[in-house]
Symmetry: C2
Subunit: 360 residues, 2 copies
Amino acid sequence: MIPSTETDWMALALQEAQKGRYLTYTNPMVGAVLVKHGRLLAVGHHVGFGHEHAEVNAYHHVQNPEDIQDSTLYVTLEPCAHQGKTPPCCRQIAAWGVKTVYVAQVDPHEVVAGKGIVYLRAHGVTVHIGQHESEAEALNRHYNFFYRQHELPYVTLKAAMSLDGKLGQVGQRTALTDTTASTDVQHLRADYQAILVGSETALVDDPQLTVRWRQLDYPPVRVILDRRGRVRPTLQLATDQAAPTWLFTSDSQQIQRFAETAVKVFYRDHWTLTAVLQMLGEQGVQSVLVEGGARVHGAFLATDHWQEIVTYQALKTLGGQAQASFVGAPAPTVSLALVQSQVVGNAVKIVARRKEDADV
Amino acid sequence: MIPSTETDWMALALQEAQKGRYLTYTNPMVGAVLVKHGRLLAVGHHVGFGHEHAEVNAYHHVQNPEDIQDSTLYVTLEPCAHQGKTPPCCRQIAAWGVKTVYVAQVDPHEVVAGKGIVYLRAHGVTVHIGQHESEAEALNRHYNFFYRQHELPYVTLKAAMSLDGKLGQVGQRTALTDTTASTDVQHLRADYQAILVGSETALVDDPQLTVRWRQLDYPPVRVILDRRGRVRPTLQLATDQAAPTWLFTSDSQQIQRFAETAVKVFYRDHWTLTAVLQMLGEQGVQSVLVEGGARVHGAFLATDHWQEIVTYQALKTLGGQAQASFVGAPAPTVSLALVQSQVVGNAVKIVARRKEDADV
């Protein structure tokens, strides 16, 4: 038997939480560990959107239910305090007779936001907060951002470009990156709830914007910015049914054009990027991966509404008359913190984050 | 005593060669090792431009000169066959009574080019060629390229840019990279015999383009492309005397303007980039680091006259209206091989080489 002081139970809980990756959808990933007298009783994780929470999952894994009396719970996120798809966890934890709860991170979701902890303490449970907090925060970066930023989604700009900063030869579809890099993009997509492109990209590339390496219960929504109503229902995005497609337009005729399709049209006289993001937030979308093109990327840089940038610097040059990446409106200089730099196929992938978001 | 079959003497010779770095100028770096009965007699290297060659340097390090009879010589480059600043090495090696010579790489320089090997063999010395050839080639990449390409210099394009592929905000001098990255650029410069910029860069940045971390006997020449005669003798490049400055112009008035300065003016009615490189080659310049600006970089991409690209991807964004890197003439798509990808200060440094040059 390993004494509890020597075992990092919260690290184990964080590891458990990861098992929910790609399954919890708009819910956070959460891991839980039940311990008594320095002995592991059970582990658990939030197994999927609408399914049991990590604490309950751990509880169901305890071999002898009577052991749970006076046990210690390590959980990566504050136990929930609201009746959602499942009964509030804090009430169950207190009812089981758990003596001490270690919480890595307080839940920023307004329906919890400390209420779970208050409930536990009011019912005689000792609660410690903050162990491995930064790792727990990083686990649900988009979720945390969303609930702290008045339900605006976390935005990542993803661009592939040549070493001379270009997207492609003018008038040609240029395959900048190889299969390894393309596969990496699909892994990236699986971490987002929406993939956003401009109408130009939708028309020229006719992309799928899907995650093809894994069947997802909740694939990211494909969002097309189509202010001028240029997109037609013949595109793959409109016909393939691989994931929901939402069209943001200021051309009212698009409502009629897409009436017979599965595409959801968001019509307004005038859409700003901020308004689009607010609407996506209202729809519950916590994270958006912006895949271009150059003008859409440029438009995002001109707002404050982006947190991260992922570039694939392809090992090619296209020359000084090729299409530049990130064109358009003036924008402030933004300093970033490096998150990752890695060779991926024929490209160097660079992930960087706004400095103010870097530690979140 | 380690038996010779188990010791990689050529690897030791390559290591010795490196001691000449930054000292041999237009000469190659060369290392030599003398061995007898599996025992090391001496090591040597080409110690500097105009100084003794590696073989002679090794010879002078042999404790008992009589040992050299019937010894084996490992040398990273073919022993020279011509009377230069020193007598031809091949003649001395044969005279010393060396029995066997291992040569990693044949010298591409026209005055040697196999003659050294022919001489040795004609004088009863056994010669083996090609051990560690690729490492030996890499050691003197610029030198090898120069003598194989009709004395055109090896050209590397160096650019610092933001993650959105921009050089700076329009009308402002933007410090993209930090001190660590700037110091790295100075280390890069020390590997080149010329640093080339356009007049715009010379005027806007008024740079020094010097190597400040080390006193060099032969600092790289600063080359300014000043077709329209915009540059004036008040610039640092013209006044600081830190290294030679050469001005390529089609404005004949520049001859008069710079007459009282140390700047060497190359005047012609019309300069193409090819003609500039040919002239630099005629002046003995084997390697050129092109530091911009965007139009000069773009012009190089539009020619075939470049071999390598070094980008510093600064962890910043400047926005869609900032100045693009690499602008100008149309150019073919060129695929590159990755040489290095590394975090340097606040930037990701990427070094890539044309695939046809990658293995040289």
